[in-house]
């Protein structure tokens, strides 16, 4: 882990301003921000781990768990909400056995919620990797997921 992070750190100045770019690059390298990475960054920048975690957890873009092979996102925006987005999410949670912001133990799926994909006409919407599935029903969830073994 260290060998992969150090080269990134060394490109940056040891100052607070480097924090966000460092977090982004480390996440790009590792796919997520594990505790060991936060510790390395903390030591390098002289900022406490809690402080870094606080900043990272403020932004939705940062993840603290290893990501699954497929990114499953279910919209909870207003349009999707009124059209049953919550039920779709419930079904996905049931099918995958994980809560939003988590990854299945076999690292196949990571589940996230989103606040509108800009495809409200198709509400309720779920997205797997880059493919959009509109007008979802609970029965369709299993079918969609089965395409991602």
């Amino acid at each position: 882990m260290r060998e992969r992070i150090l080269p990134i750190l060394q490109k940056h100045a040891r100052q607070r301003e480097s924090l966000i770019p460092v977090l982004q690059e480390v996440q790009a390298e590792l796919g997520y921000l594990p505790p060991e990475a936060i510790t390395e960054i903390a030591q390098f920048l002289g900022i406490s781990r809690s402080d870094i975690y606080g900043v990272a957890s403020f932004y939705a873009q940062f993840r603290f768990e290893k990501q699954g092979k497929y990114a499953v996102r279910v919209c909870q925006g207003t349009a999707c909400h009124v059209r049953g987005g919550k039920r779709v999410l419930g079904e996905v949670v049931y099918q995958l056995g994980i809560e939003p912001k988590h990854t299945s133990p076999d690292f196949k799926y990571s589940l996230e919620t989103a606040a509108c994909f800009g495809a409200c006409a198709l509400a309720p919407v779920m997205v797997v990797d880059k493919t959009v599935y509109g007008r979802m029903t609970t029965t369709q969830v299993k079918k969609v997921l089965s395409q991602y073994p």
Partner: protein, 915 residues
Amino acid sequence: MADLNLTIDGKQITVKPGSTVLDACKQAGIYIPTLCFHPDLTPYGACRLCIVEIEKMRGLPTACSTPVTEGMIVKTDTDQIKNFRRGVLELILTEHPHPCLTCWRRERCGPYDICLRNVDVTLRCVLCPKNKICELQEVTDFIGIDKVEFPYVYRNIPIDHENTSFERDYNLCIKCGRCIRVCQEIRGAAAIAWTMRGSEALPGTAFGISLKEADCQYCGACVDACPTGALMERDRRWEGEKEKQVLTTCPYCGVGCQLNLAIKDGKIMESVPARENDVNRGQACVKGRFGIKEVVHSPERLTTPLIKRNGKFEKATWDEALSLVSSKLGSYAKDATAVLSSAKTTNEDNYVAQKFTRVVLGNNNIDHCARLCHAPTVTGLAATFGSGAMTNSIREIGNAKCVFAIGTNTSESHPVIALEIKKAVDKGGKLIVGNPRGIRLTNFSDIWLRHAPGSDVPLLLGMCKVIVDEGLEDKEFINSRCENFDDLIGSLKNVKLDEVEKITGVPQETIKKAARMYATNKPATILYTMGITQHTTGTDNVMAIAYLAMLTGNLGKPSSGVNPLRGQNNVQGACDMGALPNVYPAYQSVTDAANKSKFEAAWGVKLSDKTGLTVTEMMDAAHEGKIKAMYIIGENPPISEPDANHAVAALRKLDFLVVQDIFMTETAQEADVVLPATTFAEKVGTFTNTERRVQMVRKAVEAVGESKPDWQITSLLAQKMGVKGFDYQNASEIMTEINQLAPSYGGITHARLETGGLQWPCPNADHPGTPILHTNQFTRGKGRFMPLTYKPPAELPDAAYPLTLTTGRSLYQYHTGTMTRKVKGLNDLLPENLAEINPADAAKLNVQNGEMVKVSSRRGHINAKVKITDVSPVGVVYMNFHFAESAANILTIAAIDPVAKIPEFKVCAIKIEKI
């Protein structure tokens, strides 16, 4: 800048420039509800409860963050304001249990009363530890809310019981951010931060790890900052309101934090740092904050005198014990007795102890453990400046442009001074750290000089050389204020930077950078402690530091100077009081005939003009049978002395030993008679902190059992021995005698100290005290340079003992642990001694983290657990010295500095073996 005028609710007010509208309202006696505001923190403007109306300003500005401008017209009481505040508060209350907050019966409701509204216990104010001292209650009562329209959802977060000092119940958190801000802004720990965002945001640690893993210092600053019951000292939780509070001085270190002890039923409930003073300003550390009540009220306290009969201690009356001691002590030849006084007891106690030695025993055999920490400071600075104390004050450090901290792990041993260093850095000052080990300070230092243990002189001379070579010295200061500059120039001739690099292990370029940084950012201050003094070259080290400061003119000015941070709470005072073998109070030499006759006249007896024995010499003399009896007050040589086995053997050789202490220490075990003393909380007196500030110690609770203040025991003993001049009625009478005999304490009376500390020299009753020494001239006239050369440590690693051992102390324990090891919370934080070694050494020895190993030197061996960390450089092992069961001082060497006679605790050769 001129004062500003403004009108608040029709009242005319004049305030100091820089005041906020909130300050002005306070001054006008107008209450403004606040929640996120805290007087020690920068305004945050988040809770929006403090809003006011200001003419010509749009909207409702927050009083806490709006600066006053000339002619402002402020209203605090309009309907618009009231409605807005009510709305804001209602929103806050949707996230905080509030049934009781909005109930008219709250004032009258007891914890076990049946609630008429059937409110769940978890939601009841009367069951909250903060009840009646909660700021949220105060604010709600002021604003007046009888119901909350929005639904309340209990967060249902488990209470964090992980540390024994305080608990965290985030169900009660109102997200004011005060805990986080104090932890980041003031403590620089950032153990907690805002985590998550939006409605999920809460203070927390990275990944929810424990506070300990998050590098929390357990200072309790967050607890004191929290307006609600979310953060509470654990033992205090159900104790309710205090009956009274007593302001006193912390007994744990030389910072001398002012603490308010809250008292109920004759017991200390909590100790909260006081805000209105120039020392700690609302801050403290884990020892002062959480480590006091358990010590004072410990069931292990000595409560009666004890006499050893047939190898067993038996209870005795004061009269029996004192009679025995007096007949015994009186039976030896004049030079066969010695006294060890204590850097933990008050000035008054020390004064009486040294007077007892000189008047009753008739010799000068008195010393205390300052020998073991700062004797080189006294000798080194006396030779160069003429007086061996901190030249400047704690509160000035925060304004320094450069701080050079060498041989001090300030965050661990002087936590509150470390906050000042952080302040200096936050204001843009530079920080240079000189330390072989990685410490908290190195996290935010500009330059880290990681020099080999014992190579301070070459490092410092190297820096001096760079400064002189590059013409960065302050020629004006050197010419007008110093003498013998050529001696330094002569010494620098022999200094070659490439050799310095080899000895110290610090690259030349880094030394150059550090020298330039120190010489060009003025004012610059140097802080140092045991890393400099505990060497055979301790005096040389101190002088080299003094030269660096003299060379750059960094003396006699605010925020500059040479600042030895004294370790124990009253080590400065014990020295000032003459608990030293060579001087009377205020450093008046015993060999000087004029001093002798002055004290003979004052005390009415003939005195000895022979310099007495130092601690280490006493132990040797006891071993050789030359000292037959000792009177040890509050000291514990078997743990604190170097080559501890030798010290125990010496004590056992004594014919008679009397020990006066608060606990049955390792030393007391060896005694013939043990006399129970009171703690600081049970007596009146004064401590002198590291910046020469004399501060009151006040009686907070009644003495435990039959224990008595140290000065009183010593005086009773003197009276028993038929000597006059010890009939003091109280501590302030002793101070009056000190005023007459110690010129630098001439104007320091208890009456004056009631309103705040005074820094010596303070020669008369009208003198305001001296925050900065050597302003116009040095105490000895001119600052003196002397030749200096490098001498290696007494014992260097070799084939048989290939590693270097260096010792120190930790934030969580104090000295020999007599006091702090009684505190559960502190023991949890640092329960055992660890041998910290570098991963490379660990690999070579094939030992694992947590493995028990045998650590041995030429003097003895102990077992300790290994901690593998790159904080320790290769080849260097670090251990704390607080632990009796694995006493690091069994290993250390008794080689001493020839001038100051301090033992070399910081360097000795050892080996580590698997067991």
